[in-house]
Amino acid sequence: MSWRRELSRLRALFRRPKLADDLKAEIRSHLEMEERENLESGMPAQEAHYAALRRFGNVTLAEEGSREMWISNAGETLLQDLRYGLRQLRRNPGFAAVAIVTLALGIGANTAIFSVVSAVVLRPLPYPHSDRLVWIAESFPALKSEVATGGDYLDWKDQNHTLDRIAAYDRGTKVEGSKGTSDNFNLTGRGTPARVHGASVSASFFTTLGVEPQIGRAFTENEDQPNGPHVVVLMHSFWQQYFGSDPHVLGQTVDLDAAPYTVVGVMPASFRFPEDSGAQILLPLALNQASERLRIQPQRMVRIIGRLKPGVSLAAAWADLDEIRKRAQPSGGPMLAEGGRGEGPVTRDNGSSRSETARATGPSGMLSARRGASRPNGGAPLASELKVVPLAEHLAGNLRPAMLTLMGVVGLVLLIACANVANLMLTRASTRTREVAVRAVLGAGRWRLVRQLLAESVILAVAGGVAGLLFAAWGVNVIARLIPAGTGAGILSVVTPKVDGNVLLFALAVSLVTGVLFGLAPAVAATRPDLAEGLKEGTRLAGAGSGRGGLRGALAVAELSLALMLLIGAGLLIKSFYRVLQVNPGFAPEGVMTLGLSLTDARYPTAQQKSEFFSQVLRRVESLPGVRSAAFADSLPLSPYQNLVMMSPNRLQPRAALSNSTMVMMMLLRVSPGYFYTLGIPVLKGRTFTDRDDEQALKVAVVNETLARHLWPTEDPIGKQFPLMRDNLTVIGVVGNTRHEGLSQETKAEIYVPYLQPPGPDNSMQLAVRTTATPASLVSAVRAQVRAIDPDQPLYHVTTLEQTLSESLAPRRFNVLLLGIFAGIALALATVGIYGVMAFSVTQRTHEIGIRMALGAERRSVLGLIVRQGLRLTLIGVALGVAGAWALTSFLASFLFGVAPRDPATFVLASLTLVAVSILACYIPARRATRVDPMVALRYQ
């Protein structure tokens, strides 16, 4: 009914002058009528007039009273309600504090998670019209990679009808964190030699994203050519660091890999490279257009961003690009190259075939996926499909599901908090029955009463919201810091989660909705029109007020079941984490220092010189005190593999026992002889490499257990011939499996070759040093040894294997931590909830308990009575919670390891925990019940 009142008030606001005149006229007419009547009854004229006025009372007051009805009220009653609510809360500071803290936890958790979700899912990328930016790639499910070649890019660029712009880039990986290959350069001539991270971009990159350099210009098409001029655009931070923000930077040079590059532009500070790259400089992509178009190997691997023409849908762009893609590969799909002589190792998808790997190995054929044509020896083609997705979605990557799951989790926490406060309100409302009844009888409409009670809960909610916001502002930083670099860092390098307008709005909305949510039921229940009962003294004796008690019980059950769902979820994650920690990594990370070294072709043009450098480093480092051993590998454990080899088992001599002709996929690692000893990888059979396994010696290989078992399940692998590329390798040993890609990743088949044998070491190698001292103490000594060999040689990624291992667990730890915290909060809230219900019930039943005890009931039976009541609620909650968890935990499947989403042990343990905590919460009020003095209880009102 009241919307109507508000509406008519609103109307009155505009018609006020007319209404006021109306009222005056009406009152005048009233007075005249009265006066006339008085005259008719025979009063003298003057007295008739005054009698009428007397009878009417205060005219001004009547006018004011009426006017108040039209206008003041919308705002003023609200103010009144709020003031009244505040007064009520001040009178009950304990209640208010508990409610506000509860709500602050609920709202704060939601706001914190929402600010991350908002950054990841909702906020537009910091590029103009970023909704039109798309990520384009060819997805190879078998390789779990999304790639595109320079040829694809050029075809799409020339032939598409749906894109405004298209750009390709070749991003390296971030310098900190992962250790993959990348467009990294040794920067010299500007202080300590350093490793700088660059990204190669096509000339169209800038216009596609819609960004421009702050100083200077972008690359021209002429510069974006092979053998074009050496030019570079600096990122803002690099400009600050190495040029001291010099405004006259244009035309100066930077020495990268010993070659001078001319600075043509500086990007603005606000510019973010569209991926987790930490790029410090931008270089022209310089695709060799002729060879790329002909798909001559090796092809460049690039990443592609397009800007849709206005009004073009994703589907239309997909169809357009897919058509072009199919035209380019008539034989129906790409396949991995398997040249006549042997298999080509495929460079791992790091988007850089040029930079380290391919550049270094040149003719030995570090191929990438090759299209079409022949298919010798029955290699199966690799299925692939085109992917065109919004750039924001691509960048959000795997953070998206995690964040949405967390959002659901904190939503549950908030529901529990609401139920809890609703329960508190109900308890309070029942002590206020009489107050409410009196007010109702005195003419307060029910709506007004409900509104007053609601005002109270909204005040609580807003206070909780404000406190929650503070909590969230702190929490966002913590969460943002906790979000592990690997997980969806793509988007977080572009947008930072923070408490912004969206988040504030969200917190406000959540607070208000929460206030109504937990306030409405109690308010409606409290104002139920059983006034006579409310006015009477002693109604409390009449029984526990089953209706309201039922609502309270239902709320407690809801809290318990929600809390149990969270407990089970957290339990599953904790168990997964535990399982991961149990995994034997296959190597011994303790006391191993690691670092990266990258040689430049300019300084070390031949494989011979590179080998010489690396060998010298090994010799010098191994002679340091505190060093037990040292070894090089092109990929140490927990960093991405550099080389993937596809091999047809048909070519094994003698033919392997494998009957089918599917390709065998394995990872190739180039290591120095001390690798297995330094990393603590056990040798299971045969021997490993020695210094004598060099370029002159017989070509040898060591395989891991998985590969050995796969290729020679029944035979002894030692001495077997293994065809790889142009050579036949002899297998000399079998080593244990390692969890190279992380503890929770499956072990891959691996083949190790000595790094001194052709094709020789990679430009970038990683050094592992097993120490007897603490690894950190050796850093400067190792650095000095490297500097002694080559003072211009930078060291990078200096860390320890233990540290890397710990970081690799960060995403999992993050999930466990967050869900654990939320489940803990949920359990605490639910415990308080059931405690409140039971305590209240005991108070209500004091009289009854008194009678029972007066009649001779023992304390134990009274205790049992109360605990049983609580247990009943708990068990209902457990049943519902288990059912809910049964339905929902499958959403967690991707976060689990070694645990089924419906792991019975976890379900049982979580349920038992809840029951135990809940019984404890019931026990305290129950004990109080047994202390009831029958005489007091019977008199108790």
């Binding site: 008519s8 009547a62 039209w70």
Partner: protein
Amino acid sequence: MAKQSSGDRIELVYGSLDMLILRTLLWGPTHGHGIAKSIERMSGETLKVEHGSIYPALQRLQQEGWITAEWGVSKNKQRAKYYRLTAAGRRQLVTETSRWERFVRAITAVLRPTESEERS
């Protein structure tokens, strides 16, 4: 309801005026003066209504949508605002009346416990 010796009048309990106005309008539309007079007449001159207090109440009732108002001319050819009960007003009157009756019963029960019937 309490009886009173003739002469002393009872102040209206706040909130009950609405109900009385609605009740008065049940007989048909009338103006503020007519409403005031009716209430006094019907209560046997027991209830004292300060005529001015009717007007805020009339505004409130209008805003609730329980009555509507229209200018008209009285039998004495005088311009006056006539109030008419709406369907919602009629419903409200029923609710208010039953609530009032329960209230009275409750008060009576408290004041005269021996006479009050056992609560069911």
